[in-house]
């Protein structure tokens, strides 16, 4: 109870009952939305590929501009032409995260899949495995570790301070912050929308005029959440690109 308003506890906002599948492989709304996102992303690129035209229309248009965006704004800005091999991976990440985030704004669904830690954590672990594997394959395990632990161009006593920091950054903080950033942003946005919806409902039933202001704010925040959904997909992808690039080309 805050100011006479009954806010739902956080477990009511993000936890959903199991629909089917029993205890171990229970499928709830979040998992269902994730499967739909996978199908949607796959369908978009499949449709764009199957009816290829010189002048793109419909699905092909969307797919081509997305690919161009990922190539020009993410891969070329951070990794250069050397990283174009990772475009398919980063494109998949970007479109999948964006679709998962947008579910928070779709009426009837109203739940961003990434507001539960499981999916961001899995994707962060995937990126973690990939960038370490790329670093080890490109540079060899010893040179890769050396490039992380000993940054060139600092006086040697500094290594007592810098080596632990660099190791913790590369192996613990980077994947953790990658997962937590996406998760916390989507959860915060979801809670914000829920709070304003609760306030609007409570005020509309008492005074209709008083409900107009929170309703206007709710609409404004929904537009803002659309921006955040896009921005978080973009940031997750660009950080994955930066981490892969840092593992691929260590600072000599």
């Amino acid at each position: 109870m805050i100011l006479g308003l009954d806010f739902p506890p956080i477990s009511h906002v993000v936890e959903w009952p199991t629909l089917f599948g029993g205890d171990t492989f229970g499928v709830n709304k979040v998992v269902l939305l994730m499967w739909i996102s996978v199908a949607l992303v796959f369908a978009l690129f499949y449709a764009a590929r199957s009816r290829r035209q010189l002048v793109p229309t419909g699905a092909q248009n969307v797919a081509e501009s997305t690919i161009e965006f990922v190539e020009d704004q993410i891969v070329m800005q951070t990794m250069g032409p050397d990283g174009l091999r990772f475009t398919p991976f980063l494109l998949t990440l970007f479109t999948f995260i964006l679709t998962c985030n947008i579910w928070g704004l779709v009426p009837g669904a109203q739940m961003p899949v990434n507001a539960r830690i499981a999916l961001p954590m899995f994707m962060a672990l995937l990126v973690y495995v990939i960038y370490n594997a790329v670093g080890i394959i490109r540079n060899g395990p010893i040179k890769y570790l050396k490039s992380i632990m000993f940054i060139p161009g600092v006086p040697w006593p500094m290594y007592f301070l810098l080596t632990p920091i660099e190791l913790i950054t590369r192996f613990i903080t980077q994947p953790l912050s990658l997962a937590v950033r996406l998760f916390a942003n989507m959860l915060a946005g979801h809670l914000l929308l829920v709070s304003f919806a609760v306030i609007t409902q409570a005020l509309v039933t008492t005074t209709i005029i008083g409900g107009a202001l929170p309703l206007a704010l709710l609409i404004f925040l929904s537009a803002f959440e659309l921006l955040v959904a896009f921005l978080q997909a973009y940031i997750f992808t660009i950080l994955a690109a930066v981490y892969i690039d840092a593992a691929m080309h260590p600072q000599h």
Binding site: Q73, S177, F183, I238, L239
Partner: protein
Amino acid sequence: MLHLLAEQDPGELVEGLTAVGRGIVYGGAAIGPGIGIGLVVGNAISAMARQPEAAGMVRTTMFLGIAFTEALALFGFVLAFIISG
């Protein structure tokens, strides 16, 4: 005061203090990143104003800077939910 505290139900006291702690954790965690994001964006804007042709590159770096700075506030946000009495 002590007398008053002793009469309180300890469970209620813990619950209240937990709520206060959550508020302090998130509030404290938001101070630094708030200043930091302001610095990042402010400097990015002055760089774009000085050299509009470099705006694309500056924007990419700005979003990276925001993402790194913001992470600390988000750790605080998650920590506030993890804290329980």
